[in-house]
Symmetry: C2
Subunit: 321 residues, 2 copies
């Protein structure tokens, strides 16, 4: 009912009378009033005038399922959503739910994570103002395809940020999105699988949205959409856009990424054409990143012209944090 | 202490006096007597004579850590072992323990599984008389290598069965061991992983050992070592041998399978050279199994000479169940 009243108030800044709400939604005037109060408690600014009724003046900066998902036409990503105030990590919560049979397409989002994590067990800064969520998928694919799923997710986030902000967001292979040479989004993909078939994949996505600054050690490596644009971002709108892109890119990936998508991806990959270095069993390989294979490997050409296909993310790129 | 007394009694059928046990192990005569009683409760047949002491007359057909692991020199598989009387599934138990930090090399075995499972959620018959266990590994490998881990495990079991029984056990790609055209062992490998790194792998192995018959629907598809040899198998000895082979083969796999191992594997693969069929997205591919790649894919050559690399196990082989 609260969501329905909120929808009715989202009518372009016009007043809606309590009587009208009561009649259209088939509830008592008291019920309308109680729900208006509940919305105000959540941070919505709703003015009231004895003669004209209620008007929505301001929306709180909190995630709202109705605003994110209402009327969204998706089939792969965001077919259902759960928003939590706080959680240890949205990936861990999604894995617990997956183990209990949660369906493909579900998104778990949280305002705050107490134990947000990045690759290889690193911690991930999850202060308020970010967008932290995990998409659960159950694709009928072999485990090796997880690399392509991660790349697809990064590509989708990159497209959404570009469309919303106009910023030149780029992908840092394999799982970051950067603006300039600073990280604005990190992706942590985890899966449970048998030898030849994925059981489920959880794609954890953390986007720095309205952060105005970062603590000391990551200050020079991280940025946010607010820092880059100088404007507050509507997280619900951005989230909705990210889900639309994820649904499109991942939906097509599950039937294997088209050559066109692959070219689009490479065009947005900051790593391509750069000098990169990685350590492997104590040996250092340096060279130019010259390609990305259809299975998501980075192809590095060393100074002797020898090519290496790399599937690990432990690659440092010259000029990027 | 119980294990120490058991070791002392395993001296080739000689009597050992209570006084000697008490002195050598540094415990009271009462403690010796209590432990003898506990061993008898477990099914060990221990005779006693007032003058000569105790003698081990018979060992129960139960898994015994001391007999399986005592003095075993392994580094990858079986570095620790937990034996349970009954469990839902040794894979599920191993996954729970892995999530709580259990170390690589641990084996979880059970006399009975109440919910033993095979690939794609199929159930697995876990009656008494079989060997049911799961090996937990934490290899620093990309997820795609899980296919090779499954093949290596099947290869190891095949070698152990051949050495113990002299039977012509063969591998049915990718995860069964067969004798004649019936299944004697199934392997279910599951993992938790990030995009580019396995977190842990559990390798569930079920071997039909002393079963004298199988229920109706699997009668023509399953066999046991007892059925094939006509003799009761010492499960503890077989288990020890399987662990030794697993340690050797998987230990070498983790540094990538040698060309020699790969040839050995192909020699024991019943699928090679046979006519196989698989369905894929509604299309049927038929042809001859001509090779197995180093990453564990089955190469099928169809009647037009076109080759396909197959990574899914849903392949039916002419002439094998």
């Amino acid at each position: 009912m609260k969501d329905k009243i909120l929808s009715a108030l989202e009518n372009g800044g016009e007043y809606v009378s309590g009587e009208e709400l009561s009649k259209n939604l088939g509830v008592s005037r008291t019920a309308v009033w109680k729900n208006i109060k509940a919305l105000r408690d959540e941070g919505y600014i709703i003015s009231s005038s004895t003669k004209r009724g209620y008007r929505l003046e301001g929306v709180p900066d909190i995630l709202n399922k109705q605003l994110i998902c209402g009327g969204l036409d998706v089939s792969s990503a965001g077919t259902d959503m759960l928003i939590l105030k706080t959680v240890d990590s949205t990936n861990d919560e999604a894995k617990r739910m997956a183990a209990n049979g949660a369906p493909s397409g579900l998104i778990i989002a949280a305002e705050n994570q107490t134990g947000g994590k990045g690759r290889l067990g690193r911690s991930w800064c999850s202060d308020s103002g970010g967008l932290y969520f995990t998409l659960l998928l159950r694709p009928e694919l072999p485990p090796a395809d997880i690399a392509g799923i991660t790349l697809s997710a990064g590509y989708a986030v990159c497209l959404a940020i570009r469309e919303y902000t106009g910023l030149d967001a780029l992908i840092k292979w394999p799982n970051d999105v950067i603006i300039g040479n600073r990280k604005v989004c990190g992706i942590l993909t985890e899966m449970a699988a048998q030898s030849d078939r994925i059981d489920y994949v959880v794609i954890g996505i953390g986007i720095n949205v309205n952060h105005s600054e970062f603590p000391g050690e990551i200050k020079n490596k991280a940025t946010s959409l607010f820092i880059e644009t100088g404007e507050r971002i509507d997280r619900n709108k951005l989230f909705r856009l990210v889900i639309e892109k994820l649904d499109k890119v991942l939906g097509s990936f599950l039937f294997s990424l088209s050559a066109e998508d692959m070219e689009g991806f490479k065009d947005l990959c900051a790593t391509m054409g750069r000098r990169v270095t990685l350590e492997r069993s104590g040996v250092t390989i340096s060279g130019e990143a010259v390609d990305i294979t259809s299975s998501g490997e980075l192809v590095i050409k060393d100074d002797n012209g020898k090519e290496y296909n790399i599937n690990s993310g432990e690659v440092s790129v010259q000029g990027i944090y």
